[in-house]
Symmetry: C2
Subunit: 83 residues, 2 copies
């Protein structure tokens, strides 16, 4: 069966996020001062063939750990659904 | 009240995603051939002060339309929750 797994990779909460700070400045210039904090990360959507949702999630976790997320600077979250 | 809005910005489904294709190649080299398709986009988490969740979502939508997403190449989805 085919599953869609969304891998959300975000900068660790303890770290500064210069890209987010730049976006925040841009939003303030547009008059959107109600927005107080911005953090920018990646969203990677993968299509996986697996026997079960758990197996699909495990494959996506391996992909995130080996290639997609840098654990020194980023954490990731997974969300799995049938395709 | 403070809300967290997650803005997911992804390349339009009709368009090629060269970054996703590159990741797919990398995953194949790692032996993860069960992963068949990859699309890479952005995830922007904003913290918004607003009277209601609807207002927070509307502010985030304005931010996405004016600054964060390029409608020629990208679409976006919003997800709002209390902070």
């Amino acid at each position: 069966m085919t599953y869609i797994v969304e891998i959300k990779v975000m900068p660790l909460k303890e770290l500064l996020d210069p890209q987010g700070k730049a976006v925040l400045g841009g939003l303030a210039n547009l008059g959107l001062s109600a927005i107080q904090d911005v953090r920018v990360g990646k969203n990677i959507t993968v299509q996986v063939t697996a026997d079960s949702a758990d197996q699909a999630k495990e494959l996506a976790r391996t992909a995130a750990e080996k290639l997609l997320a840098n654990p020194v600077m980023e954490y990731f979250e997974l969300d799995c659904r049938p395709a």
